[in-house]
C-alpha cells in the first residue's frame, strides 16, 4: 500500500490554511486635506473583500472585525487611536464584499502635534480580520491650512440672544437663537432649525422643522447664523437644535432648552396700524394704534434689539385721548442711523401695562 496519499492527507489536515480569506481592503477617499490647529471630521468608506481560500474551501468564519483605528506617521509611529469597533456579520458565501462607513474626528491636539513634529502628512489606518488573518488599509491625511482643507465644521455653538443657553420667557415674548460655526475649506452648509414643542415634550419629544439654512461658506473661518423667531405661544418646555445635513459633523447637534412660563397677567396684544415693519423713520412717521379700554396713557418705546428687557433708548408717552403720535425732533436725535425696534404699551390708571404690541423693525437713516 502506497503511504503517500495518506501522508498527503495528513499533511493537508495538519497544516493550517496559510492564505488569508480577506483578500483586499481599500478606503475612500484615499487622501484628504486636514487643517493644522483645528479639529476635522472625515467620512471614510472601508471596503473589505473576502474570497474562498486557495483550496476552494468555504471559510468557517462569517464576521469581519476592526477593533480600532490608528493615526500613524510615515515611519509607522503611533500618534493616536480611535477606540471604536467596526463589525459586520454576513452569511457565508464564496465571495463577499463588506462595506463599512465611518465618521472619524481627528483631534485638534493630534494635528498640532503632527505639525510641531515637522510632519506634512499622517495616516489613518485600520486592520480588518475575519479570524483568518488581518489586512489593513490607510487614508492619507495631508496637513494644510484651514482655507485649503476639506469642507467641514470644527465647532458649533448655539445660544439665545445675549449668550444665554437657557431661557425662561413669557408667552408671546420674542426669542431668537444664534449659531456660530467654525469651518474649514469651502462648501455649502445645509442645515435646518428644528424645535420640539410642549405638545410633544410633555411625552416623547419630536422635533419639527422651522427654517432651512443654505449658505455657501468659503475660505475657512467663522460664520454667524441668525435663527428664526421661535414659537413661544404654548406654555411648557421647548427643545431647540440646528440639524446639520452637510457637511457631516463628528459630534451630535447641541440642544438648547427654553421654557415658556405662564405669567399671572400676560398683557393683551395691542394692535398697531403704522408704521409698517421696516419702515424708515422720518419727521412725518406716524405711530398709530387701536385704542385699549381702560388705558390712561400710551408709550412708544424704541430699542436697539427685539428684546424688551432693560430700559428703552428713547420714545414718547402720550395721553389716552390720542391714538397716534409722531416723534419730535429732540427725540429723533437720540437715534443715530441704524436699525431699531419699536413697540407700543397701553398703561392703566395704576401704572400697570394693559397691552403691548410685538416689536417692529424701524430704520433710521442719516439726517
Amino acid at each position: 500500500m502506497n503511504p503517500m496519499p495518506s501522508m498527503a492527507l495528513l499533511f493537508l489536515l495538519a497544516t493550517p490554511t496559510a492564505q488569508a480569506v480577506v483578500t483586499a481592503v481599500t478606503v475612500a477617499p484615499g487622501s484628504a486635506a486636514v487643517p493644522v490647529g483645528q479639529t476635522t471630521t472625515l467620512q471614510l468608506r472601508w471596503t473589505v473583500e473576502r474570497n474562498a481560500d486557495a483550496s476552494g474551501r468555504l471559510p468557517a468564519g462569517d464576521e469581519v472585525v476592526s477593533e480600532r483605528g490608528e493615526f500613524r506617521d510615515d515611519a509607522g509611529r503611533l500618534l493616536g487611536r480611535v477606540e471604536r469597533r467596526l463589525r459586520q456579520t454576513r452569511p457565508v458565501s464564496p465571495s463577499d464584499v463588506f462595506d463599512f462607513r465611518e465618521t472619524v474626528r481627528v483631534p485638534t491636539a493630534l494635528l498640532y502635534q503632527a505639525h510641531s513634529a515637522g510632519l506634512t502628512r499622517i495616516h489613518y489606518q485600520r486592520a480588518f480580520d475575519d479570524g483568518y488573518g488581518p489586512r489593513s488599509a490607510a487614508a492619507e491625511l495631508r496637513l494644510t491650512s484651514a482655507a485649503a482643507a476639506a469642507f467641514g465644521l470644527s465647532r458649533l455653538a448655539l445660544s439665545f440672544e445675549g449668550g444665554w443657553l437657557h431661557r425662561l420667557v413669557a408667552p408671546g415674548e420674542a426669542l431668537r437663537p444664534r449659531a456660530v460655526v467654525n469651518f474649514t475649506g469651502s462648501g455649502q452648509l445645509r442645515a435646518t432649525w428644528e424645535v420640539a414643542e410642549p405638545a410633544t415634550t410633555r411625552g416623547e419629544p419630536v422635533f419639527r422643522p422651522l427654517q432651512s439654512v443654505r449658505r455657501y461658506l468659503t475660505g475657512g473661518g467663522e460664520a454667524t447664523l441668525e435663527g428664526p423667531a421661535l414659537p413661544t405661544r404654548d406654555r411648557g418646555t421647548y427643545l431647540l437644535r440646528l440639524r446639520i445635513d452637510a457637511p457631516e459633523t463628528g459630534f451630535a447637534p447641541p440642544v438648547l432648552r427654553y421654557v415658556v412660563a405662564p405669567t399671572e397677567e400676560t398683557p393683551t396684544v395691542l394692535k398697531v396700524q403704522s408704521p409698517a415693519v421696516g419702515a424708515p423713520l422720518t419727521p412725518e412717521t406716524r405711530f398709530q394704534w387701536t385704542p385699549v379700554a381702560g388705558a390712561r396713557a400710551y408709550q412708544v418705546e424704541i430699542r436697539a434689539t427685539e428684546s424688551v428687557t432693560g430700559p428703552p433708548l428713547t420714545g414718547l408717552v402720550t395721553t389716552a385721548e390720542r391714538q397716534h403720535a409722531t416723534l419730535p425732533a429732540h427725540t429723533r436725535r437720540h437715534l443715530p442711523p441704524g436699525r431699531y425696534y419699536w413697540r407700543l404699551l397701553a398703561i392703566g390708571a395704576q401704572g400697570d401695562i394693559l397691552a403691548a404690541s410685538a416689536p417692529r423693525e424701524l430704520r433710521v437713516g442719516a439726517p
Binding site: A199, G219, G236
Partner: protein, 644 residues
C-alpha cells in the same frame, strides 16, 4: 454842587442797568427742578419745573424728556411751573430730566437738565422684591412610550433689591422644576436655578456672582461673552475708570448644581481695565487693557459641539485704544493682542505663542452730499487686521486665526434708498509655515434696499420694501503647498432678491436666492436656487394666520437634491376665555441618497376658567417616512396654576 463828569457817569451807569434789565436774562429766571420737602422723590411723586415764560408756551415751543423719553403730553401747567406726573411709578435710583425749547428759527436749545434721585424712603432708596411661580400638571391620554404618563413641572422667577444710597444688594434668578432628564440641561438637577445673578455694591466697589459679562469685546474676548463666575470691580465714573478682576467658567453652564466658582479644568481668570482719560471729553477716548488665563475642558458643555478632547490651557492679553477726532467725524480704533496656547494642557506639547492686531478707521461727514436736489448721507471706513497662525484666546473660542488683510466699506442713504458696498482681501498662512500653501481670499459685496419715503404708494401695494444683495468671493493659491499648485481655486457668487409688502391687516414677502460655486481645482461646480414665501394675516382681531414656505434645489456633482419646508399656524380666540390653535409643518427631502418626508400636526384648545388657572387639551401627530415609516400620536391634558 455835583460835578458834570460825575453826573455823566451816573447816567451811563443807569443806562447800563436799564439795558441789562431789558436784554439780559436774569440769573434767577433759569428753569429749575423744584425740590421736594423730603429732599428726595418717591416713585409716585410729581416733578415740578419752574420754567418761567416757557411754562406758558405751548408744546410746540417746549418739551420735557424723562430718561430720554418725551413726556410733554403728560405736562400740566400751574402758573410758571410745569408739573409732570409720570404714567408709571419711577424705579428707585437716579433719573434725568431735560427741558428743551424750540426757538422761532427752528433751533432746539436745552434750557435745563437735572439728575434726581427716587427713593422709597429716607432710609431706603429701594427695597423691592418680586416673585412669580407656576406649576403644571400633565396627564397623557393614551399610552406614551418611554415617558411618564403623569408629569409635574414648575417654574419660578424671583428678584429683589435693597439699597440705602451708599450700598446696594441685588439678585435675580429663574427657577425650574423638571424631573425628566431629557428636558433638562445636562448640568441641572431636577429643581434648579437655570440662571442667577447677584451683586453687592458699596461706593466704588462692586462684587458680582452668577452669569455676567465682565470682559471688553475685542480680539481676545467675544462680544457678549456671558459666563458664570465671580468678579470684583472698582469704578470711578467721574474719571471714567473701571478695573475688574474676574474668575469665570470658560464653558457656560446651566444650573446652580454646576457650582458657582470655576473648577480646576474649567476656569478663566484675569483682569480688565478701561479708562476715559480726557477730562471734559470722556466720550472721545477709551483705553482698555485685558489679561486672562485659564483652562478649557473642550466642547463638552451645553449648546456647543466640537472637539471634546481639547483640554487646553493658555493666556492672552490685549490693549485697545478707541478715539473720536475732528468733531467726532473720524473714529480710529487700534488693538494689539498676544496669546499663548497649549493644545494639550498638561501634556507634552509646548505652548504656541502668537500675536494679532487690528486697526480700524471710519469717517462720517458733518453734512450730506448734495447731488442736484438729492441729499446723500454717507460714511466709509477701512480695517486692517492680522491674526497669527495660532492666535487663540479661551475667551474667544469661535474667533478665527491665521488671517491678514484689509476690508473697506461704504454706506449711503437717500430718498428711501440704502446702499452698502464692502470688499476686501486677506491671506492665510500668516506665519509662513513651511509646506503649507498660502491662499488669498477676496470678498466683495453690494446691498441695495428701498422703501418709499416721499412717495405714497397705492393701497393695494401697502408699504413695500425691495432689496437686492450680491456677494462674490474668490480664492487663489499664491504659494504652493499641501498638494496645491499656484492658481485660482474657487469662485462663489450669491445673489438675493427680496420684496416685502405690509398692510394694516397683514404682510407678505418673497425672497429668491441664486448661488453658484465653482471648484476650479476639482473642475466641478454647483448651484443652489432657493425661494421663500412668508405670509401673515390678521383679518379679524381674534384670528391670526402665519405661513412660511421654503424650497431649495441644489445641483452639484451630477446630482440634484431638493428640500422643502412648510409651516402653517392658525390661532383663534373663540371667546374671552377660550382659544384654539392649529399648526402644521411639513418637510420633504429628495436626493440621490435620501428620500424623506416628515409632517407634524398640532391642535390645542385652551380654557381660562378663572384668573391664574389654565386648562389645555392638546394633541400632536408626527410622521416620518424614509426607509421606514414612524408615527407618533400624543394627547395631553394640562393644568397650569400661577402665583405671584
Amino acid at each position: 454842587m455835583p460835578s458834570p463828569h460825575r453826573s455823566g457817569q451816573d447816567r451811563q451807569r443807569w443806562r447800563m442797568i436799564l439795558l441789562l434789565f431789558l436784554f439780559h436774562r436774569p440769573v434767577w429766571g433759569e428753569p429749575a427742578l423744584l425740590p421736594t420737602a423730603e429732599g428726595f422723590w418717591t416713585p409716585d411723586a410729581p416733578l415740578r419745573i419752574e420754567a418761567g415764560a416757557l411754562a406758558g408756551a405751548g408744546p410746540e415751543r417746549r418739551a420735557v424728556e424723562l430718561d430720554d423719553m418725551d413726556v410733554t403730553a403728560l405736562l400740566t401747567v400751574e402758573g410758571n411751573v410745569l408739573v409732570l406726573r409720570p404714567a408709571q411709578p419711577l424705579a428707585p435710583g437716579w433719573h434725568h430730566l431735560r427741558l428743551v425749547e424750540y426757538t422761532e428759527d427752528g433751533e432746539i436749545i436745552e434750557r435745563g437738565a437735572w439728575r434726581f434721585e427716587v427713593r422709597r424712603s429716607r432710609l431706603w432708596r429701594e427695597r423691592d422684591g418680586e416673585w412669580q411661580a407656576g406649576l403644571a400638571l400633565n396627564r397623557a391620554l393614551g399610552q406614551v412610550p418611554a415617558a411618564p404618563r403623569t408629569t409635574l413641572e414648575g417654574t419660578g422667577r424671583a428678584n429683589g433689591a435693597v439699597e440705602s444710597g451708599r450700598w446696594r444688594l441685588q439678585g435675580e434668578s429663574d427657577l425650574i422644576y423638571q424631573p425628566r432628564d431629557e428636558l433638562r440641561s445636562q448640568t441641572m438637577s431636577p429643581l434648579d436655578a437655570s440662571a442667577f445673578a447677584a451683586s453687592a455694591t458699596r461706593g466704588p466697589w462692586r462684587l458680582a456672582a452668577g452669569q455676567q459679562t465682565p470682559l471688553v469685546p475685542g480680539l481676545i474676548a467675544e462680544d457678549g461673552f456671558l459666563r458664570r463666575g465671580v468678579s470684583l470691580g472698582f469704578e470711578r465714573p467721574r474719571r471714567g475708570t473701571r478695573v475688574t478682576a474676574f474668575a469665570l467658567r470658560s464653558q457656560e453652564v446651566v444650573g446652580l448644581a454646576a457650582g458657582l466658582t470655576p473648577t480646576d479644568d474649567d476656569r478663566l481668570t484675569g483682569l480688565t481695565l478701561t479708562t476715559r482719560p480726557l477730562a471734559g471729553r470722556r466720550e472721545d477716548l477709551l483705553v482698555s487693557a485685558t489679561w486672562l488665563q485659564g483652562r478649557d475642558p473642550g466642547a463638552v458643555g451645553d449648546g456647543v459641539g466640537g472637539d471634546p478632547d481639547l483640554a487646553a490651557r493658555g493666556d492672552a492679553y490685549a490693549l485697545a485704544v478707541d478715539t473720536f477726532l475732528w468733531q467726532r467725524r473720524l473714529r480710529l480704533r487700534g488693538e494689539w493682542a498676544g496669546s499663548r496656547y497649549d493644545y494639550d494642557g498638561a501634556g507634552p506639547l509646548t505652548a504656541e505663542r502668537s500675536r494679532a492686531h487690528a486697526l480700524w478707521a471710519g469717517y462720517t461727514p458733518a453734512r450730506p452730499l448734495n447731488l442736484g436736489q438729492t441729499q446723500v448721507n454717507w460714511e466709509t471706513g477701512v480695517e486692517w487686521r492680522r491674526l497669527g497662525s495660532f492666535f487663540r484666546s479661551l475667551a474667544n473660542p469661535s474667533a478665527g486665526a491665521d488671517r491678514a488683510g484689509w476690508r473697506a466699506f461704504f454706506t449711503a442713504t437717500w430718498d428711501g434708498f440704502d446702499l452698502r458696498l464692502d470688499g476686501g482681501r486677506e491671506r492665510d498662512n500668516v506665519d509662513a509655515l513651511p509646506a503649507l500653501p498660502r491662499i488669498a481670499i477676496d470678498r466683495w459685496g453690494a446691498a441695495l434696499a428701498w422703501s418709499p419715503v416721499q412717495w405714497q404708494p397705492p393701497g393695494w401695494l401697502g408699504q413695500p420694501r425691495l432689496g437686492l444683495d450680491t456677494q462674490r468671493s474668490g480664492q487663489a493659491v499664491e504659494r504652493e503647498g499641501g498638494g496645491l499648485a499656484v492658481g485660482a481655486t474657487r469662485r462663489t457668487r450669491t445673489t438675493t432678491l427680496s420684496a416685502g409688502f405690509d398692510y394694516p391687516l397683514g404682510r407678505w414677502s418673497l425672497t429668491h436666492t441664486l448661488a453658484w460655486d465653482e471648484d476650479l481645482a476639482q473642475g466641478s461646480e454647483s448651484t443652489s436656487r432657493a425661494n421663500e414665501l412668508s405670509l401673515g394675516l390678521q383679518p379679524w382681531e381674534s384670528v391670526t394666520l402665519d405661513l412660511t414656505w421654503q424650497r431649495e434645489r441644489y445641483d452639484g456633482g451630477g446630482e440634484t437634491t431638493t428640500s422643502e419646508v412648510t409651516d402653517l399656524a392658525l390661532s383663534q380666540r373663540l371667546s374671552p376665555r377660550l382659544a384654539l390653535q392649529l399648526g402644521h409643518s411639513r418637510e420633504r427631502q429628495n436626493g440621490p441618497w435620501t428620500q424623506s418626508r416628515a409632517t407634524a400636526t398640532q391642535i390645542q384648545l385652551q380654557w381660562w376658567p378663572r384668573q391664574s388657572v389654565t386648562v389645555t387639551l392638546e394633541g400632536s401627530d408626527n410622521r416620518y417616512r424614509a426607509e421606514t415609516e414612524q408615527r407618533a400620536q400624543q394627547i395631553f391634558l394640562r393644568l397650569d396654576l400661577t402665583w405671584s
